[in-house]
Amino acid sequence: MSTIDPKPSPPRWATRILQWYCAPHLIEEIQGDLEEEFDFQVKQVGITKARLDYIRNVVGFIRPFAIKRKNKSTVNNYGMIRSYFTIGWRNLMRSKAYSSINIGGLAVGMAFAMITGLWIQYEMNFDSFHKNGDRIALIMKNTLYNDERNTQDATPFPLQEELKSNYPEVKRAAKVSWSNEANLKVGDNSINKSGRYVDPDFLEMFSFPVIQGDVKTALKDPKSIVLTESLARSLFGYDDPLGKIIRINNRHDVQVTAIVSDVPANSTLQFDFLGPYEFEAQNSDFISNNRTNWGNNFLMNMVELKEGVSMEAFSEKISKLNMEKDNTLKNQFLFLHPLEKWHLNNDYKNWVNTGGRIEYVRLFGIIGIFVLLIACINFMNLSTARSQKRAKEVGVRKTMGSQRTQLIIQFLSESMLTTFLAFLLALSLITFLLPSLKEFGFENITLSYDNGFLLISGLAVCIATGLIAGSYPALYLSSFSPEKILKGIFKRGKNPVTLRRVLVVSQFAVSMGLIVSTTAVFQQVNHAKGRSIGYNPDNLVSVTATRELYLNFGALKDELLNSGYIEAVATTSSPLTSVYNKWSDFSWDGKDPNSDIALEALMTEWDFEKVAGLKFKMGRPFSIEHATDSNAVILNESALKVIGYKDPIGRTMKSGNREIIIVGVVEDMVMLDPFKPVSPGVILFNAQAVNSILVRVKNETDLQNTLAVIDPIFKRHNATQPFNYSFVDDDFNKKFALENQVGKLAGIFAALAVFISCLGLFGLASFMAEQRIKEIGIRKILGASVLNLWRMLSSEFVVLITFSLLIASPITYYFMERWLQNYHYRTELSWWVFIAVGSGMVVITLLTVSYHSVTAANANPVKSLRTE
């Protein structure tokens, strides 16, 4: 058998490389030359060497002249591009209603997404102005009381000294008090402001800018004070405040040693003035008695670590410090809570950081993105629907010589122009809307045009939306051959319709989710508001007690009661909406000696039950007729459960070494978090522990009138200090501030989402009705009734909405259940909410769509069929 030797050929892969890089107009001659040379070399030196030579040649041709593509045209495109914009503009103007729906919807979505972005930016930048922020931490304490793992920010007095002198890791440390209100007086000028008492290191640790005075020495002298700029201005006007004397609480004279700029709103630590902690310690018997006590936690300790020290390692190191210093203490573990977490990650549950505000930042971030998404979807939906009308334009342009790339550029630049208009509109909307959003927690947010991040992301959204919205006409329509389009053979593919259905479904699913979530938030708030709180906060005025009021209380009480407007007056150790005291030195028969149970303590005197409107379960209130009532105690129900007495009235327990007699049991009073169970607490008789004076106004009297009457009475007994009061029901409602804010915001977003979705639906329905106008005409002629047609045109949308409800419900249910898990006292998600929201959506959809379907169905078929 004879075989034919195949003609020797150059390596194929090398040829492929050549074909890949070589410019198309040169490939023929170069490849030809190479092959001829190869054949020549085969004869000369043999096939192997010829192949090597071929490869060498292929590589040798990798040179600019061989790679560079021939420039097809160097025509100036300027005029063409200008014409694109003209045509784009005319298209917008031709259908004004559609354009304004399209641009307006996108602008509203963008505006709200950007406002949310601004808010998130603001929240994330909280406390970021401290230069040493990454090394500053608050010392917190994990405790185990009543078998409950709690985390507190209060730590003992001697901790700061110990950390600063015996731990080389610590650079600076300061005791910091909670915000205290104090009366500051210069001459006749008297103001109540809140301030903090801090150790001298404070000003160096934190970066509150000091305008006047020396940072290092400003708080050294106990009789010094640091003011904020605006406080200094209101006390001293334009005089130089440095070195001036201020009288605090009408008792102590202190000297102004420094002025700091006003504390920015995005600082967790807020104050109008700073005093040395030593000043507070010298003037409070309580504090000076606890200078060396490791068991009494009543202040905050903050540290700045040296560079390179790990917070985790140091937390570990000091964890058991309290117990080492005082071996009677049990189950207290110190740790560092870094500054970066103060604002957003401030919640601890079971000793573990569970986030906090960050949840809301994330939530609104997601909602913002969703609203933006809905708006963008809408825009794309409407744009693609409209662009089908322009198929003929594409045909004509192609016949006139338009290349596909030119058409792509045209449609993309046109949709980009539209999104850019929306962006400009969104910017002006934000400027216009921000002032009216102040009450929703946006008071500190401003739009500055040097906010590069925001503008760039806004533009990015613009471009992305424009590109996607424009891509349908740009890529799809431009791919058809002109003769098909112009002959009318061009058939709309199924794809855009399916896509549009998916978009509508996802839009409405998001809207529905938002509405259900909003409803759930308000249900939860109402649920907590509706719970029995154990006292009556209405018509109850809480006055901050001053020293003078305390001293003159007897006369004050008599005068108030004699005024005729007041039902009862009593002093308390804390306002009804907070708890100042929680003690663990109570004991009772049968108490487990190893348990460490703390009871909240409220100290008050006669008439408290009338003032607060207590609800007694057993026993009686304190009574002036019982001489022994100074040693009486009233328990709340939770305390009774903890103590476990079967028949408590008349039995005794101990507070420290003092024996106290249980005279009554009241319903639990919700003084703290309304979403949590009430802690065990006791009401003790003590007329000396006075921080508030509670005044119950008679039911039928007018509150404003009463205030006008009691104001002078208070003034008379409190000549030097202002009269500071609040209504207990207002204070109580403030506990819902966060939830209310979230609910309102979610409500706004939900309304917005529905609004934008409906805008989209409206546009879409009008377009679909227009498309089927001939079909409707024919159907009418053949006898279809208006109702039939209406059903035909609307039913598709109803099916879509129902479908989106089915998708949204389980997802929303899952997330809202998870949100509710944050609350101890929580409502149930009820199925009827979903049903109600769902039917509401269907009704809204029908209303939106019906306008067009009814118009189309009513139109005279003669007119619609004659056009062409």
Binding site: E28, E29, I30, G32, D33, L34, E35, E36, F61, F65
Partner: protein, 112 residues
């Protein structure tokens, strides 16, 4: 005034060969001719690149030839020298001769 165009030594060589080969001047042929005439080791890509530059400078023009059975049926690009190319070659030759004439007699003797 239009900027004067200069030729490199290799370009001059290629141009001369193109002029010499006439209707048969294409990549491989030119390369082989150069190797044969000068015994230099020249590669195809160098010649192609040079031809490109010459065409840019307007010394030669090119057109695609007819398809043949060689080279997998691919056409050749045939180069022809332009009047401008011829003019340039003549000027260069004249310049050389002029400069030779100006050499001192001793040098001429060595050369001879």
């Amino acid at each position: 005034m239009k900027k004067r165009v200069y030729l490199g030594e290799f370009e001059e060589l290629v141009l001369l060969i193109v002029a010499m080969l006439g209707e048969d001047a294409y990549g491989v042929k030119i390369t082989h001719e150069i190797i044969e005439q000068t015994k230099r080791n020249v590669r195809l890509n160098q010649v192609h690149s040079s031809l490109h530059r010459l065409e840019d400078k307007g010394m030669i023009t090119s057109k695609m030839g007819n398809a043949t059975h060689e080279r997998g049926g691919r056409r050749k690009r045939i180069f022809t020298i332009t009047a401008f190319g011829q003019q340039t070659l003549k000027e260069m030759k004249a310049l050389r001769l002029h400069l030779w004439a100006l050499l001192p007699p001793s040098t001429k003797i060595i050369e001879a």
